[in-house]
């Protein structure tokens, strides 16, 4: 009696979990299928290699692709060094006092701030305060700020997963704390750091709100990128085509094609994260 009851509970919870997983998978699949169905016919090599033309009703999306890629690069250059350094400081050097705890809590809360707020902050600080104007640099800095809390948190978690005994073993060999951090902690934490970093960059690449008033523009004639110029970006391009364009019928396939490309970029970034993780775990199980 008792036994069959626990067996039932076991089977039930397993089934429930499976169902949840299936729902998520199904959602993802139907989303992708829908996008491909609507935007698939415009997808071609020339779509990603030519610039928009004829009021964006024709041509490709090269300009916004270039914009998003450079933007993400700037975001990475700003947020990775600062984020990783902050996480190393918090987990390896800061003593566990009130100030540290408050800092940590503040960082966690920052991760929950709506991205439009970051946009406003970027407008005030970078566009106006630092006088960068509405530009690639200002938008990159804004997205860098947005990514910081995620990068700090995931890096700290990766570092914290390293056993204390590993640090002590290195110290016992006469390593200084900095040597332990540089040679033992950071290399062991790389899979975790890389995964976190790529996921937060992928998220940043898909953001619209923070770049809305910090640098993105709806149309550029050429495809040159200047750090202090405005730029086109995939998510904003998509938003624009769907909501602001008069010839909605004409541009809809292009909009869906843009969505497909954006999704593809995010997917590729995720795959890279998985690869890094796998490679390191295979070589160096911690």
């Amino acid at each position: 009696m008792k036994k069959s009851q626990t067996q039932f509970a076991e089977a039930f919870s397993k089934g429930l979990l499976l169902a949840c997983a299936l729902v998520v998978a199904l959602l993802l699949i139907s989303l992708t299928a829908y996008l491909l169905l609507r935007g698939g016919k415009v997808l071609s090599w020339s779509f990603v290699t030519s610039i928009p033309s004829e009021g964006m009703t024709r041509g490709g999306i090269l300009t916004p692709i270039i914009g998003t890629v450079t933007l993400t690069l700037i975001t990475a250059l700003v947020s990775l060094p600062i984020g990783i350094a902050a996480a190393v400081y918090l987990s390896e050097y800061a003593s566990n006092n009130r100030l540290t705890q408050i800092t940590r809590a503040a960082i966690r809360n920052l991760a929950g701030v709506p991205s439009i707020i970051f946009g406003l902050f970027g407008l005030a600080l970078f566009v106006q305060g630092l006088g960068l104007g509405s530009s690639l640099l200002a938008a990159g800095f804004t997205l860098g700020l947005l990514s910081l809390p995620y990068i700090i948190t995931t890096t700290e978690e990766a570092i914290r997963a390293i056993p204390q005994l590993m640090r002590e073993s290195a110290l016992a060999l006469g390593a200084t704390r900095w040597e332990v951090t540089r040679d033992i902690i950071l290399p062991s934490a790389i899979p975790g750091i890389a995964t976190g970093a790529i996921l937060s960059l992928a998220r940043a690449a898909g953001e619209t709100a923070p770049i809305l008033f910090t640098g993105a523009t709806f149309y550029l004639s050429g495809n040159s990128v200047g750090l202090l110029d405005e730029f086109m970006a995939l998510p904003y391009h998509l938003y624009m085509l769907v909501t602001q364009h008069q010839a909605i019928e004409k541009v809809q396939p292009i909009a869906f094609g843009t969505a497909c490309v954006l999704l593809l970029i995010v997917l590729v970034l995720n795959l890279v994260a998985m690869r890094i993780r796998k490679k390191y775990i295979k070589n160096y199980q911690v």
């Binding site: 002590e168 290195a170 110290l171 016992a172 060999l173």
Partner: protein, 253 residues
Amino acid sequence: MTSTATSIAIDVQQWSLSFGQRHVLKEISMRIPVKKVTALIGPSGCGKSTLLRSFNRMHELNNEVTYQGSIKIDDKDIFQWEVTALRRQVGMIFQKPVPFPKSIYDNIAYGLKINGFPEKEIPQRIEEALTKSYLWNEVKDKLREPATRLSGGQQQRLCIARTIALQPEIVLMDEPCSALDPISTAKIEELIKELAQNYTIVLVTHNMQQAMRVADYTAFMYLGELIEMDTTEQIFHYPKQELTRNYVQGNFG
């Protein structure tokens, strides 16, 4: 135990240590002889690890710790040593072996590099250290493989190799066999005896047989105090203190 000044590796005088308000070591005085194996025994929680970790200043990471008294190594107070130099001179093997996430070769090369050994001596020193820790034959064909693929016993010998590669004078071992099977344990014990020809060894152990098999001297600790220290023979067969007798005969608590 009578010793001349030169044959003392670690000279502990009135050493007390607290974690915050908690007094863990109480006025411990002991002299650990050079190139001998000294075992630290005593019930769980009596402060063996804490004492051992005092010797290479491992408590420094914890800013709650306060101490009194003195510990001298090479006639020099440990706090007058530069901490990295002290730790190179006083190696430590932990209960659970933790190889670095590097190859077998690099696990040993790492300590050599950070301690400034000349680059061209490194391969030679690695081979020597692995030979001395009886690991060379098992790993010589896979030096570039991740150290984490070794068995637990092999990992512990690798940790010993990376410690003795630095040619310390003293090796501290905190229950080095407690995570190992009997065969690996026998190998490590063999190794400890061998190492005692060149190094001073301080061994924390819960295993009385192990202390009897490998230790020249044994110190019995109880509730943070050193109750008695003498030759292993004396401690196990003719202890002077009632407490020691009860403990080594196994009728405790």
